[in-house]
Symmetry: C2
DNA sequence: TTTTTAGATACTTAATTAGCTAAATATATA
DNA sequence: TATATATTTAGCTAATTAAGTATCTAAAAA
């Protein structure tokens, strides 16, 4: 039961739920893309991803300086399907989808640099 | 999305998850039965049930002095199915099932009175 | 080799939450 | 009508959690 509870708790934060929905829709995102999406600090994103990782819900790969996160193949499919249908149509999720299309239209390097300089998108 | 989050948060407490599993398995329980199951104070149970009720996950009916809770018919079925399969086999849930069979073998009035006198089962 | 960079970790603060006791409420019972 | 009872609400405490800033880490880039 502890594992189940850990997974539920991992999803019980609004920003983490948004990240999971974004990863489900777009496959893979790096920290600075997630940071841009959530509009919080990088350390905050890092900690959220750590929670999701410790719950076995996301996996990461390193590419040069970048860490990319994606949903783990062990992510409970039934839970994901429920969550997606439950939030489908919500204003925040729809807005996130649009924002992500913009975010992903920027080369990753440029996005990270723009963030650093306080510009971003 | 706020409704989804509220439901996830409602389940993100161990005792509340246990209650939902118990209601799913046994249909309907009164406060003192839940109190006996969880081994916490009655006011604590009352507040937990309030959280679940506010999330639209349980319903109640009054019968004399007793309030009985059951899962709402609006409880997300996919979520319930996932949770059940996810915790199936866990020691706590199995132990709860046994405890509930004992609890339900007592007439409700006697259980409530025994609890009040610090005896219980 | 030195510098830069993306992300993780440490520390702090403020908000939220689970548990308890005391008291209130609604209503059944005597 | 007074009393008893099951449950809810109020108030408090301790623990947990989300956010920020500062700093560290690993490793890419110059």
């Amino acid at each position: 039961m502890e594992k189940t509870l850990k997974q539920i708790k991992a999803l019980s934060d609004g920003n983490r739920l948004r990240v999971v929905m974004a990863l489900s829709a777009f496959g893979e995102l790096c920290v600075c893309q997630i940071t841009e999406l959530l509009q919080v600090s990088t350390p905050t994103v890092s900690r959220h991803m750590s929670v999701l990782h410790n719950a076995g819900m996301v996996e990461s790969r390193k590419d040069a300086r970048w860490v990319h996160y994606r949903l783990s193949e062990n992510f409970p499919e039934a839970l994901l399907n429920w969550a997606e249908s439950s939030v489908a149509g919500s204003r925040i999720i729809l807005k996130d989808k649009q924002a992500l299309e913009t975010i992903l239209s920027f080369p990753r390097d440029e996005l990270c640099r723009a963030r650093k300089q306080g510009l971003a998108v």
